[in-house]
Symmetry: C2
Subunit: 329 residues, 2 copies
C-alpha cells in the first residue's frame, strides 16, 4: 500500500516539477529578450510579490501577420483572396474587365491599397462576403490544405514562428488568456487559430463586417457581409480589445506601427505591471528583413522610435531566435 | 509516513467526492426542470458516451433581464438611466424642455419606446455616451451601491435569481464557459457581471455603440459613443454570439421572445447535443407574473408556443424554485 501511495503522489506532483525545470522557450537564444519574457512571467505569477497579477487579469494580446506568422511577400490572407479570384474567375467571366480583379490577379497590391483600400475592399467583397460562414470556412480550409508559400514551399500554416508558439504556450501554462488582435479577417483566422496557436475562436479579434442571421427553411444560417466594416488596425486595436475583452491586457506583442496603439494601451498608465514586445524582422536569410518603408505591409518606424522610451522589448529575429519556423511535417 | 500520505491523498481527492455527492441546484425543487438540467450536464460530460461534448465546445449563453435578474417594473438599466437623468438635471437645466427627458422623469416607458425607441436612444445618449468608460463605470457602481428596487427594497444586485446563480456555478464546475447575451448595455453589465455572476467582462455580449480610442495628454482614453449602435436582441443575439464567440452554444437560457432566435440558433441542427430553457414568470407573490402582453418588457408568446416542439424546458418559477432571490445581506 505504502508504495502505491508514493507512486500516486509522484504522479500528482510531477507536472509542477516539469514546469520548473524545463526551458519554456527552447527556440530562443539566451539573451536579454528571452530573459525579459521569463522575468515578466515570473514576476506577475509570484504570489505575495508586489508585481503579482491575479489570473483573471492575465490577458496577453498578439498581432498575427508578422508577429505570429510570416507576412511576406503578401499577407497570407491576401494570397488566399488572390487565389480565390483565380479559382472563381471561370464561373464569373465578367470579372475580367474589373481593374481591381486584374490588379489582384497580377498581385499588384499597390493599386488595391489606393483610395483608402478601395480595390482591396472590392476584392474582399468578391471573396469574403455574400456566402455563409460555413461555406467561407470550407474555402479557407481547402486553400490552407493545398496552397504553399512561394519562397518557403511549405503550407502557410507552417510559416508560423516557432519561438512565438513557445511564448503562447508558456503564457497559457502560467494562466494567461492569449488573444489574437489582428488587422486580418476575424472569420479567416478563426478557421486555424485553435489548431495552430491553441487560441479558440472567442479569443480572436480581427477586422470584420457584420454577420447576418436568418432561419432558412427552418435552419439557422449566418451570412458574411461587409456592412459596418470594422478595421482592427492602429487605433482600431485598442477599440477591438476594449469592446471584446473589456479590460486592459498586461502583455502585448506586435511587429509594426499598426500595433503601436495596442502596445501603448497595454503599457501606459496600466495599474498592473505590463509588457510590450516588437518582433523586428532582421533576418533576410531565414525569413525577411524590413522595417521602415517595406515593399508591402508591416512598416515599423514610429513604434520602433518610441520602443526604448516605453521599455518595449525589441526582438532581433536574427540574434534572438534559434529557429524561425517549426520543423516541417 | 503512511498516515501522512493518506491525509494528503484524502485532501487531493476530496473535491471530487463533494461534487458527486452534493446537490448542485439546492434552490430548485426536485422535478422535471431540475432533472433535465442535471441530465444534460451529466450526458455531455460523460467521457465515452455518445452525448459527450469536449470542454472547448461547452458554451452556455444566458439572457440577463428576466433570466438572471428581475426586469420589473422597468429593466434595472432603465431605472439607472432615469435616476441618472434626475441626478444630472440640476446641472443641465435646458433638459427640462425635452419631452423625452420629461417621459424619463415620469417613468413613461411607452413614450420612450415609440418611433423605433427614439426617446430611449435620446436618454441613452444623455446617460450612456460622451463620457469615458471609466467615468461611466464609476457612475454605475455608485448607483448600484445606493439604489434600491422599489418593491423589494433591496439593492438591484440582490434581485438576481438564486436558482440561476446555481446553474451558472454548476455549469462552470463542469467546464462550461458561461456567457451573458443580453439586450442590456455591454459596458453596464460588465461593471457587476464578474462579482455577481462570476462572468468576466470578455464573456459579456450586449447592446453597444462603438468605443473611441485616443491618447489624451499621453494617456490612453476610451470614450463611449452611440455610433454604429448594435442592438443585441432577437436576431441580434445569434449575430452577437457568432461575432463574439464564433461557435454555437450547446445551452441557452432565456425568458422572452427576444431570446427565441438565440435558443433556435443553439438547438436547431446543432451537431452537438443541445439544451434550451425558458424562465416563465408565474409567481406574482414572490416576483412577477407575466408572459403575453406584459405591461413592460419581456413578452413571452411565440417562444412559448414553439417550446415543446423544440424540446425547450419551460421553468415554472412558482413550482420549480424553492427560493427566488438570494438571502438578503
Amino acid at each position: 500500500m505504502h508504495r502505491q501511495y508514493l507512486t500516486v503522489l509522484l504522479f500528482v506532483f510531477s507536472p509542477l516539477a516539469i514546469v520548473v525545470s524545463e526551458d519554456p522557450l527552447p527556440s530562443w537564444i539566451d539573451g536579454p529578450a528571452k530573459k525579459s519574457i521569463i522575468d515578466f512571467v515570473v514576476d506577475v505569477t509570484t504570489e505575495g510579490s508586489q508585481q503579482y497579477v491575479p489570473p483573471e487579469d492575465r490577458i496577453a494580446v498578439f498581432d498575427n501577420d508578422g508577429t505570429l506568422w510570416c507576412e511576406y511577400p503578401v499577407p497570407n490572407q491576401a494570397a488566399f483572396a488572390f487565389d480565390e479570384i483565380q479559382r472563381l474567375l471561370p464561373a464569373n467571366p465578367s470579372w475580367k474587365n474589373d481593374p481591381m480583379v486584374q490588379a489582384a490577379i497580377s498581385g499588384d497590391v499597390g493599386t488595391l491599397l489606393k483610395d483608402d483600400h478601395k480595390g482591396l475592399i472590392r476584392i474582399l467583397g468578391l471573396t469574403h462576403a455574400g456566402m455563409t460562414v460555413e461555406e467561407f470556412n470550407t474555402r479557407v480550409s481547402k486553400w490552407l490544405e493545398s496552397a504553399k508559400h512561394p519562397r518557403f514551399q511549405r503550407p502557410y500554416l507552417e510559416t508560423v514562428y516557432q519561438p512565438m508558439l513557445e511564448v503562447l504556450s508558456y503564457l497559457r501554462a502560467n494562466d494567461f488568456e492569449t488573444w489574437i488582435v489582428s488587422g486580418g479577417g476575424r472569420e479567416f483566422m478563426r478557421v486555424f487559430a485553435y489548431e495552430t496557436y491553441g487560441i479558440p475562436p472567442q479569443q480572436v479579434i480581427g477586422s470584420h463586417g457584420k454577420l447576418k442571421y436568418e432561419l432558412k427553411a427552418g435552419t439557422p444560417v449566418l451570412t458574411k457581409t461587409l456592412e459596418t466594416l470594422f478595421v482592427d488596425d492602429r487605433e482600431g486595436k485598442p477599440v477591438g480589445i476594449a469592446q471584446s475583452i473589456g479590460k486592459r491586457p498586461i502583455a502585448a506583442f506586435g511587429n509594426s506601427d499598426g500595433d503601436q496603439a495596442m502596445l501603448e494601451y497595454t503599457t501606459i498608465d496600466n495599474p498592473h505591471p505590463s509588457f510590450g514586445l516588437l518582433v523586428h524582422h532582421t533576418d533576410e536569410d531565414r525569413e525577411y528583413k524590413y522595417d521602415e518603408n517595406p515593399p508591402g505591409s508591416g512598416e515599423l518606424k514610429t513604434a520602433l522610435e518610441v520602443a526604448s522610451l516605453r521599455n518595449w522589448v525589441v526582438v532581433d529575429m536574427k540574434k534572438d531566435w534559434k529557429e524561425v519556423f517549426p520543423a516541417s511535417e
